[in-house]
């Protein structure tokens, strides 16, 4: 069952990723990215990371991508027109990428070839309780620093998007 779910959602994730890169209209790219994030959330559940899976859907797919969607809808500039690309890109682009990925895949499968297989339920420490313990224990300083980071981001976004007072 694990293999079946992994294959299905990995195919959806890769299909979504290809669609993000290849679609002309930004809204189609945005929705494909939401599909990628959803399938990654399922893969996190298979890896035992239940809190991270839910945080992925709530924060990434439910807030950040909605922000992207708002900006695209407000700007409403339509799809991208395809200009001519250089011949080298068109001919060599996909094969080089595929070769790169094949080399990485080969290296990974050689170096991580121990008998560790990911079973659903093999990692029980992904609950909110253990994440809370780690965040408020060992990682307290980074947590407080990220709250300052978010404050800075809010201030920056408000200042940038403000109308100029003449």
């Amino acid at each position: 069952m694990d293999l079946f779910f992994f294959v299905v959602f990995a195919v959806v994730a890769i299909g979504g990723g290809v669609s993000v890169v290849l679609q002309t209209h930004p809204i189609s790219s945005a929705l494909s990215l939401v599909a990628v994030m959803g399938s990654l959330a399922v893969l996190y559940l298979l890896l035992g990371a239940e809190f991270i899976a839910m945080a992925q859907v709530i924060v990434y797919a439910g807030a950040i991508m909605v922000l992207f969607l708002f900006v695209i809808m407000l700007l409403n500039s339509g799809g991208e027109t395809k200009p001519g690309r250089s011949a080298m890109v068109k001919v060599l682009g996909v094969p080089v990428l595929a070769g790169f990925v094949a080399i990485i895949a080969y290296v990974f499968s050689l170096s991580f070839n121990d008998t560790l297989a990911v079973h659903f339920g093999g990692f029980s420490d992904g609950s909110a309780r253990s994440i809370g313990r780690a965040i408020f224990g060992a990682y307290l300083l980074p947590f407080e620093v990220t709250s300052v980071l978010i404050l800075v981001a809010i201030l920056g976004a408000v200042v940038l998007a403000r109308k100029e007072l003449d």
Binding site: L31, E50, M54, I58, A61, G62, V66, F70, M73, S127
Partner: protein
């Protein structure tokens, strides 16, 4: 193997029940608002208009579904699909009762239980925003776009006080799983006061309850927060270019969201399926007593009817209620029906409040609505969380 069969049976039962509740919730809303406005409401189709939802379903299904030529076809068809599926998925983790034994199989009255159940509900409601935003944008109509964007902005703004209001009772319950939240609200203080979150622990969660209900109104686009939808009556809203089944999908999604929010309110604050007073004081006999009382009332009104048609319909309803009351006394089905009755009573009371407020209050202007969320409700929820956290930490063992 038997796990799958039991799950399929549970899914069928819950789905059938949920669809019926959605259809008749619309009837209840129309009748209650009608009586609030001193008129009668639907009463022609079937006795007291009880077959009105059937007539509406037939009308919506047989209406001509057209696809306007200027819309973005894929997103136009995808948007109601997203809205409805996200609204219906949340029913899968709601616990309707405790553990029951049916034909020798032990199971819980809940489709499934997640460790992070309450986060799942938040995640699904965040994804429901996409249906509305896409509907507004794909209709290629500036009024729909504005209505869709306003509605989505309202929904994501009110998700913040909603989430903060949820965390305070979670601090008291100590778990994220919905089943365990309800179980932690069992038992009685002083022998008769139930340990529901609104009465419980170091800090009774009254403020969280109020903030959650207000944010719930805004999340489901109900009055007094329904300006993006009421533009429908003025100019247009996000579902202006939709017809027949797709419009019905948005409608159904709104009612399903309403039922989901009231179920979550009941589970978090009002103790889910826990009864109001202990079984030793007779709480198992309250449901059949209530049903017998309603049946007697209907019989009395049926025997001295104000209209000639009521002479037939009201005694029939009285007999139905008496039979239901007798069903609650059968010991084989009592452990199934009594917790479900308490859950349904609390959810029904909250739904009646939603409908009552719709008939009573005027709606907010959009800027009032947004500043209420950001400038009042969000700080209030934050302060409530701080106080709850402080009291829980001080009284922790």
């Amino acid at each position: 193997m038997e796990f799958y069969v039991i799950s399929l049976v549970k899914i069928a039962v819950v789905f059938a029940g949920f669809m019926t509740v959605l259809a008749y919730l619309q009837w209840v809303e129309r009748k209650v608002i009608a009586h609030v406005q001193v008129r009668v409401g639907p009463n022609r189709v079937g006795p007291h208009g009880l077959l009105q939802p059937m007539a509406d379903i037939i009308k919506l299904v047989t209406k001509e579904g057209f696809l306007p030529s200027h819309v973005h076809k894929f997103f136009y068809l995808l948007a109601p699909f997203i809205a409805v599926s996200m609204a219906l998925v949340s029913i899968s983790i709601i616990p309707f009762g405790s553990e029951i034994k049916v034909f020798g199989y032990t199971t819980w009255m809940q489709l499934t239980d997640l460790n992070v159940g309450i986060l799942f509900v938040l995640a699904i409601s965040s994804l429901g925003v996409y249906g509305i935003a896409l509907a507004g944008w794909s209709s290629n109509n500036k009024y729909s776009l504005l209505g869709g964007l306003r509605s989505s902005a309202q929904m994501i703004s009110y998700e913040l006080p909603l989430s903060l209001a949820i965390t305070a009772p979670l601090l008291i319950a100590g778990t994220l799983s919905l089943r365990e939240i309800v179980q932690s609200q069992g038992g009685y203080n002083f022998g008769f006061l139930p340990r529901w979150s609104v009465f419980a622990g170091p800090f009774p969660q009254v403020f969280s309850f109020i903030i959650f209900v207000i944010a719930g109104f805004a999340e489901t686009n109900r009055v007094p927060f329904d300006l993006p939808e009421a533009e429908n009556e003025l100019v247009a809203g996000f579902h202006t270019e939709y017809s027949s089944m797709q419009f019905a999908s948005f409608f159904m999604a709104e009612y399903a969201n309403m039922v989901t929010i009231t179920c979550i309110t009941t589970i978090l604050f009002l103790g889910g399926w826990q009864p109001l007073f202990p079984a030793s004081l007779g709480s198992n006999y309250l449901p059949p007593l209530l049903l017998f009382f309603v049946g007697a009332l209907l019989l009395f009104n049926g025997l001295n009817p104000r209209r000639r048609k009521d002479r037939f319909s009201l005694p029939v309803f009285a007999v139905v209620f008496f039979l239901l009351g007798i069903l609650f006394l059968v010991p084989a089905v009592k452990p199934i029906l009594v917790p479900f009755f308490w859950f349904a009573a609390k959810v029904g009371f909250l739904l009646f409040t939603f409908i009552w407020i719709r008939g009573t209050l005027p709606r907010f202007r959009y800027d009032q609505l947004m500043s209420f969320a950001w400038k009042f409700l969000f700080p209030a929820a934050l302060i409530n969380l701080l106080i709850t956290g402080l009291l829980v930490a001080l009284t922790a063992k």
